[in-house]
Amino acid sequence: MITIRDVEHVAKLARLSLSDEEKQLYTEQLAKILGYFDELQKVDTTGVEPMAHALSLTSVVRDDLVVAPPGSSVVLACAPESENGYFKVPRIGE
C-alpha cells in the first residue's frame, strides 16, 4: 500500500515540490490506481520477453551528412536566462 512517505520519496525523484494537499490527494489516488493495476500480477508471464516497442526495429543509421545547425543564439533565445552564450542557472550546491 502506497503511503504519504512513498509519495514524498517519488516526488523527490521526479523533482516536484508538491503541496501538502497534493501529497494527500496523490496518496489516495495512486493507491486506487495501483490497486486496479494489481490485476496484472495474476497474469502468467513466465518466459515472456518484455516488449518495449511495437516495431521490431534494429539499429537504424542515416547518411553522415553535414547539415546547418540552428546555431546557439537561436537555441539560447528559448532559454529563460542566458549569459555570454551559455545557459544561466542559480547556484549549484552549497
Binding site: 490506481i33 528559448c78 536566462e81
Partner: protein, 491 residues
C-alpha cells in the same frame, strides 16, 4: 462566402482549379466562420494568421501560373498545439511551455506546407496530450459543437472541434491511447491513428514515445486518406519512422469490402459499454456484412489488461520524457529559487497541471527501485501478450471492430474527480496503441441525446489502406457523416 465552409478537399480543389475562387477567399471564409463560432467553442490556442495569409498567397500564385496543384492546395487545416511550427507558440496547453516558440518545424508541418495546406491555427488539448476530455488544458476548456454543455473528448479535442464545426477542413491530432479516435467519435468526425512508424514524430512534443503517433481528422474518409498520404513516409529525423513506400490511400477507397473478414471483439462489445453505443456498433457490423464482408465474433481476452498495461507504460515513458522541463533550456522558470535543485522543483511544481503531475508521479513510482519488476517489466510482458493475441486474430481476420468509446460525449466535470473513471474512456482505443496497429473512428450513429457515436475499425500492422477502404465503404453506404453539428449546418 459562407458556402465555402463545410467543403471537402476535392470540392475545394475543383473550385480553386477552375478559378471559381481563390485560396485567399477560402481562407477568408474560414476566418469569418472562426470569428463567429470560436468565442463559444474555444478550439484554438492561437490562430496562425500571418502564416496562413502567406500560404494562401503562394497557392494563388500557383493557380495564376497554371501549375499543377499539390494535393492539399488551399485547404485550411488545424494543427494540435503539440506539433511544432516555427514563429508561433507550441504550448501543449501547458503553463510550462506557455512562452515556448520552437525554432524548428515538425516534419508533418513541412509536408503539409509542401502539399499547399493553409494552417489556420494551433488547437487546444489536454495538457501534454494527457486526458480524454480536453478539460486538462492548462488554459481553457473546449466545447463540443453538437452540445456545448458536453466535452469534445481528448486529448485532440480542439482538432476534432475545428473539423466538426467547420473552422477547418481537416486537422492533425496525436494519438497515444485514443487521443485522435475518441474526440473524433465524440464530435462526429473521422479520425485515424496510423500504424506506429507510418508518420514521422519529429517535431511532435513527446508524451510516450513507443505509443505516440500523429494522424488526420476529417469530415469524410476521402479527406482523411488524402491527408494521410501527404504526412506519411520515412524521415531521417525520426529513427522509428518506417522506410517503406507510401500508398496513394485515396486510390484504395474502392468501396469494395466483398469477402473481407471482420471480427467483432467480444471483450469490447459487452460489459462497460453503454447500450445505445453497442446497438449502433452492432448495426454497423451488420451493415458491413450486408456490403459483402464476413462478420464474426472474436475473443481477445488479454485486452482486458490493456488499461493497466497502458497506464504503467505511458506514465513511465512520460516521466522520462517530461524530465526535460527543468526551467533551464526553455519553458517556464521559477525565478525566486536560491539554488538549482529548488529551481527545478519549483518550476515543475508551478508549470505542470494536476493530471500531468499525477502521471509523472505514477510513472516515476513504476520505474523506481523495488517496483520496476512488479510494475514496469510486468506491463511490458503483458504488452507482448496483447500484441501476440492481435497477431493471432489477424491470421483469421482482415479487420477488427468495436466501439471507439464506451459512451457518447459526457458533461464537463463528470469525471474530473475520479482519474480511473476518466482513464476508462480509453478502454477500447488503448490496445491498438500498445500493439502499434492502425485504427480509425468513424460516425456510426447518434445516441438518444443526439450526440454522435463512433465505430472503431482496427487493422493489422501496415493495414492502413484496408482500414480506410472498409471505413469508406461504410461511410458511402450510410448517412451518418452527412449530419453536421449545429454550428456547421447553420453556417
Amino acid at each position: 462566402m459562407k458556402e465555402l465552409v463545410g467543403k471537402s478537399v476535392q470540392e475545394l480543389r475543383a473550385l480553386l482549379g477552375g478559378k471559381a475562387v481563390s485560396a485567399r477567399e477560402v481562407l477568408a471564409a474560414h476566418r469569418q466562420h472562426i470569428d463567429s463560432v470560436e468565442p463559444e467553442l474555444q478550439a484554438f490556442n492561437c490562430l496562425t494568421e500571418d502564416l496562413a495569409a502567406r500560404q494562401a498567397a503562394r497557392v494563388d500564385k500557383l493557380i495564376a501560373d497554371g501549375e499543377v496543384l499539390p494535393p492539399l492546395a488551399g485547404v485550411p487545416i488545424a494543427l494540435k498545439d503539440n506539433i511544432c511550427v516555427p514563429g508561433y507558440p507550441t504550448t501543449c496547453s501547458s503553463r510550462i511551455l506557455e512562452s515556448y516558440r520552437p525554432p524548428y518545424q515538425a516534419t508533418v508541418a513541412e509536408r503539409l506546407q509542401e502539399a499547399g495546406a493553409i494552417f489556420v491555427g494551433k488547437t487546444n488539448l489536454d495538457e501534454f496530450a494527457m486526458g480524454s476530455s480536453t478539460e486538462n488544458s492548462g488554459f481553457k476548456p473546449t466545447r463540443n459543437p453538437w452540445n456545448t454543455a458536453m466535452v469534445p473528448g481528448g486529448s485532440s479535442g480542439g482538432s476534432a472541434v475545428a473539423v466538426a464545426s467547420g473552422m477547418s477542413v481537416i486537422a492533425l491530432g496525436s494519438d497515444t491511447g485514443g487521443s485522435i479516435r475518441q474526440p473524433a467519435s465524440f464530435c462526429g468526425v473521422a479520425g485515424m491513428k496510423p500504424t506506429y512508424g507510418r508518420v514521422s514524430r519529429f517535431g511532435l512534443v513527446a508524451f510516450a514515445s513507443s505509443l505516440d503517433q500523429i494522424g488526420p481528422l476529417g469530415r469524410c474518409l476521402e479527406d482523411v486518406a488524402i491527408t494521410l498520404s501527404v504526412i506519411s513516409g520515412h524521415d531521417g529525423k525520426d529513427s522509428t519512422s518506417l522506410s517503406l513506400p507510401v500508398p496513394e490511400y485515396v486510390k484504395e477507397l474502392t468501396g469494395d469490402v466483398e469477402g473481407l473478414r471482420i471480427g467483432v471483439i467480444s471483450e469490447l462489445t459487452g460489459q462497460g459499454m453503454d447500450a445505445e453505443v453497442l446497438e449502433s456498433v452492432e448495426l454497423a457490423a451488420r451493415q458491413l456484412g450486408q456490403l459483402g464482408a464476413g462478420v464474426e465474433e472474436v475473443s481477445l481476452p488479454a485486452t482486458r489488461h490493456a488499461l493497466a498495461v497502458y497506464y504503467l507504460i505511458a506514465t513511465a515513458e512520460a516521466s522520462a520524457n517530461l524530465a526535460r522541463y527543468d526551467g533551464v533550456k526553455y519553458g517556464y522558470r521559477h525565478r525566486q529559487a536560491e539554488d538549482l535543485l529548488s529551481m527545478y522543483r519549483a518550476s515543475r511544481q508551478e508549470g505542470f497541471g494536476v493530471e500531468v503531475k499525477r502521471r509523472i508521479m505514477l510513472g516515476t513510482y513504476a520505474l523506481s527501485s523495488g517496483y520496476y519488476d512488479a510494475y514496469y517489466k510486468k506491463a511490458q510482458q503483458v504488452r507482448r501478450l496483447i500484441k501476440e493475441e492481435f497477431d493471432r486474430a489477424f491470421a483469421r481476420f482482415d479487420l477488427l471492430v468495436c466501439p471507439t468509446s464506451p459512451t457518447v460525449a459526457f458533461e464537463f466535470g463528470a469525471r474530473t474527480g475520479d482519474p480511473l473513471q476518466m482513464y476508462l474512456s480509453d478502454i477500447a482505443t488503448i490496445p491498438v496503441n500498445l500493439a502499434g496497429l492502425p485504427g480509425i473512428s468513424i460516425p456510426c450513429g447518434f445516441g438518444k441525446s443526439g450526440l454522435p457515436i463512433g465505430l472503431q475499425l482496427i487493422g493489422p500492422t501496415l493495414g492502413d489502406a484496408q482500414v480506410l477502404r472498409a471505413a469508406h465503404a461504410f461511410e458511402q453506404a450510410t448517412e451518418f457523416h452527412k449530419k453536421r453539428s449545429p454550428v456547421l449546418s447553420a453556417a
